[in-house]
Symmetry: C2
Subunit: 237 residues, 2 copies
DNA sequence: ATTTTTTATATGTCTGCACATATTAATGAG
DNA sequence: CTCATTAATATGTGCAGACATATAAAAAAT
């Protein structure tokens, strides 16, 4: 009695997930090697490889050369967040986008930022404070620090017309960086800008980006009350 | 004059990224097709395919059959969040893990949850309130709702010994779901549990998971002040 | 002019094969 | 017994060729 051949990597993946769900293979178990699975499923080893590699990426399997493939002990769930352009995010929700620059200054980099962005001491940074709004209500504060050494063109840009968020995405795309999410309580200046109560809990994103090792920009996004960042935990099957 | 062959997919990827960075290909541009690139780079089409597909996954390229591959217009940055077991997260930081169950009840599902979890009206849920702590200081509140229809075994579990977070990960792994991040202000009961001030801004994660279409569990994690969720935006090169 | 059908094309993926590489396990030297 | 060397093995990845599939563009029909 032969099973119909699983001749594409998705169906192989599904079958593997089914076996894990069904308890055929339990957490920590070593599963058969690619060649054996390929024979069993009636497909090429490359197909099995694609399926297993994809499952390893999503955290269900642990794979190591020679050691083989085993079902992950602590399946670390991975969520993929898409970080959109703020204007796009607001427009996609069907609101009218608004934008205003509040302040623009050149200042020596504060110590906290200098270390975070790995800057030489005394580097001058461009500091911008802006507000994005949805249907004329404040949506998010963008507090932006830009390293002019990394982006000389920034000196001539009028950020009352285009947000740093958008300009940087267009002109300095595809850089690496890191990102942190947390909550803070609104202080007076923030509450004024977001038109909310002092002390209210606000969702905040800190992000800094660099190209190679040179720091480009660091930004703090402080969202108005009610903001939710949402995504999906998708798993095969 | 020939270029040394780019004979692995990583170097092909690097070269493509270099061309985008260097302005050879600009945002929105159509790039040569896989066959041409393979010829130019001196490798197989499959290798180019692997490289471009990976770049499309990370949002740098848009690809469509017949239409070809172009540099993404609005490169949507993607961050991958790893959502660990709470106990593991605390231990990894070098703290002593503590756990306590506060309450356990069986209650009719509140309307808000019933719709979110897509439950028939009047379903009874198991409701648990627990606190995880690090070095004896409250770290996060776990407010958990479990659908006993989906996980009958849950009735016999003593959640004063093991957290729902951990038990569910062990016994109902690999489910799909969705997740939201936001901020709230501490009310009195929350402030009591987290030993913080009323009104303080707190980081919150709402997550609900299901297998197929059946709702399994929904959880709200309310983190103590100061919590930061951190990850890396990594890009090829 | 508009709609439908056909065709051409770029990506998507499978196959079978080969070799590279990491890492465990066996072997041998001291 | 311990440490270094060697062999065995599972995954990682490359190649050439083939066919599948989506879809933009061209051709045909209304």
């Amino acid at each position: 009695m032969t099973v119909p051949a699983l001749n594409n990597w998705q169906s192989v993946q599904d079958e593997v997930v089914r076996r894990i769900h069904g308890g055929v293979w339990n957490q920590g178990d070593l599963i058969p090697n690619e060649a054996d699975l390929a024979r069993e499923f009636g497909c090429a080893r490359a197909t099995v490889n694609r399926a297993l590699q994809s499952l390893a990426d999503s955290g269900l399997l642990d794979r190591r050369r020679k050691a083989g493939t085993r079902v992950a002990m602590l399946p670390v769930r991975k969520a993929t967040l898409e970080i959109p352009l703020i204007r796009k995010e607001i427009c996609d929700k069907g609101h009218t986008y608004g934008y205003a620059q509040v302040t623009r200054r050149r200042v020596p980099s504060p110590a906290r930022l200098a270390s975070k962005m790995n800057l030489p001491r005394g580097t001058k940074l461009l500091h911008l404070l802006c507000v994005h709004s949805a249907d004329a209500k404040p949506y998010v504060i963008e507090e932006r620090w830009i390293n002019p050494d990394a982006v000389p063109a920034v000196e001539g840009v009028d950020f009352s017309q285009i947000s740093p968020n958008e300009w940087l995405l267009k002109h300095v795309p595809f850089s690496a960086g890191d990102i942190a999410f947390f909550a803070m309580s609104a202080d007076q200046p923030v509450a004024d800008l977001l038109e909310c109560e002092v002390g209210e809990g606000l969702f905040v994103i800190d992000r800094s980006t660099r190209r190679d090792t040179q720091a480009i920009t660091s930004v703090r996004l402080i969202f108005a009350p009610g903001y939710r960042m949402h995504t999906v935990l998708s798993l095969p099957t």
